[in-house]
Assembly symmetry: C2
């Protein structure tokens, strides 16, 4: 049977210019390329479940590994030893926590059922030294009323809709219909989390949805206006694109 | 009234050679010195509540600020604006979250009623990229039995006792009696936390107590042996000194 390896990994995105290999700057994919070459002794094709932007983190990210040009891999390394074997060749901020064999026909991006992202907001006037690179510092207090409005607004994101409003203006994607299964806002202590799962995401979509929720917290947008704003397909109607370093890919389900 | 300023701060210790100023390496105290000089326009004496080792973190740390050589300070900066004013002159990994005036007779180290430390252990075979510099990676699984033994052993640390056993061998302190008020072990997911509060701590004491609990988890020491080990005043009877980067000063109470 022709088979590939599917890696489950997590990474702190701070030091990387995103997942995908690019000419300038170090990426997670490049580190996976180097580690697999060192471990297996041959060049590999690494295909990720998602492109992530510079500074974005992943609690769960998936990538397939196959021998370069072959769409399959043969190795004597036992699959359950792979996470620890990879650890020897990966930096501290990338960790493979599980590995499994999948059929060669498997595609880590196209076969995704849904992905879940979390956007974290540190909502206190004073900053948090432990979260400076892993949350967005939004210093204006979001009170109970603002939080209730955000929760209400988030509900309007759920469903199969055209999300063109919430896509980066320079994106070239033409099919902008996606299905959001879950969109929830929660606050614990001074940390606000926006959790959203969907069958797919447009470029900058989670960051623009979050920025729109912030506009709701600031009473610039009312929850009942969300449907009209979504229908407008006008990027300018939505909120700001919040910074990348508050964003975490949290779950990938096939 | 002669008064000083008491700062409440938190810091990520990764980049620092501990709190206390020293000839080689950057320290938290040095950063506070630079920031207060930039803010107030004169040199200050900064006195911390504790010396912390290189790599140790603080969720809560206290330090007094007075004009150099005067044991008092006069400034037009309103005390409630001080945290944000300091933020301009401090790096991202140090944050003042509160400030208050205290009498000039106040001493941030001698006046402490109790301090509470937390030691965090990442207990999974695979490492965690988000905790690599803020927990100790102990890969051998501590099961329910081991955890129960650790909890039981920790109870024997509580009380007014001579803790010489749990002091770094090269420490020169002669009065080694301290009162531990709380010593608790908890596990949530793959993270084990040892929380300990006391009126004072000997050099490396929390790290050696934690190392002793790890020896208990490994069944090298039984919980009922703790009293004998404490009474021995023999450093070699205790467990290892676990690494600094899992240690957090969590609370300072006056």
């Amino acid at each position: 049977m022709e088979r590939k390896i599917l890696l489950h990994l997590s990474f702190l995105g701070t030091a990387y210019c995103g997942y995908q290999i690019q000419p300038n700057g170090i990426t997670v994919q490049q580190k996976l390329n180097e580690a697999t070459k060192a471990l297996f002794g041959f060049d590999c094709d690494i295909v990720g479940c998602s492109r992530t932007d510079s500074g974005v983190h992943a609690n769960h990210f998936c990538a397939t590994v196959s021998e370069k040009g072959k769409n399959a891999i043969a190795t004597t390394v036992p699959i359950d030893r792979l996470p620890l074997a990879m650890a020897q060749f990966l930096p501290e901020d990338i960790a493979v926590f599980d590995a499994e064999y999948v059929d060669s026909s498997f595609h880590p991006r196209y076969d995704v059922k849904y992905k879940e992202y979390v956007y974290r907001i540190w909502n206190r006037r004073e900053r948090n030294p432990f979260l400076s690179d892993r949350s967005w510092h939004y210093p204006k207090t979001v009170g109970d009323d603002g939080l209730a409005q955000m929760k209400e607004a988030a509900k309007h994101f759920v469903g199969t809709q055209d999300f063109a409003t919430y896509m980066a203006a320079d994106s070239k994607v033409s099919d902008t219909v996606r299905t959001i299964y879950k969109a929830e806002v929660n606050k614990e202590g001074d940390l606000i989390e926006f959790r959203v799962s969907a069958d797919g995401f447009l470029y900058n979509m989670v960051r623009i949805l979050t920025g729109t929720l912030i506009a709701v917290a600031e009473h610039k947008i009312l929850p009942e206006e969300i449907e009209r704003i979504t229908a407008s397909k006008d990027r300018k109607q939505a909120g700001i694109t919040v910074p990348a370093h508050g964003l975490f890919l949290d779950k990938v389900v096939y």
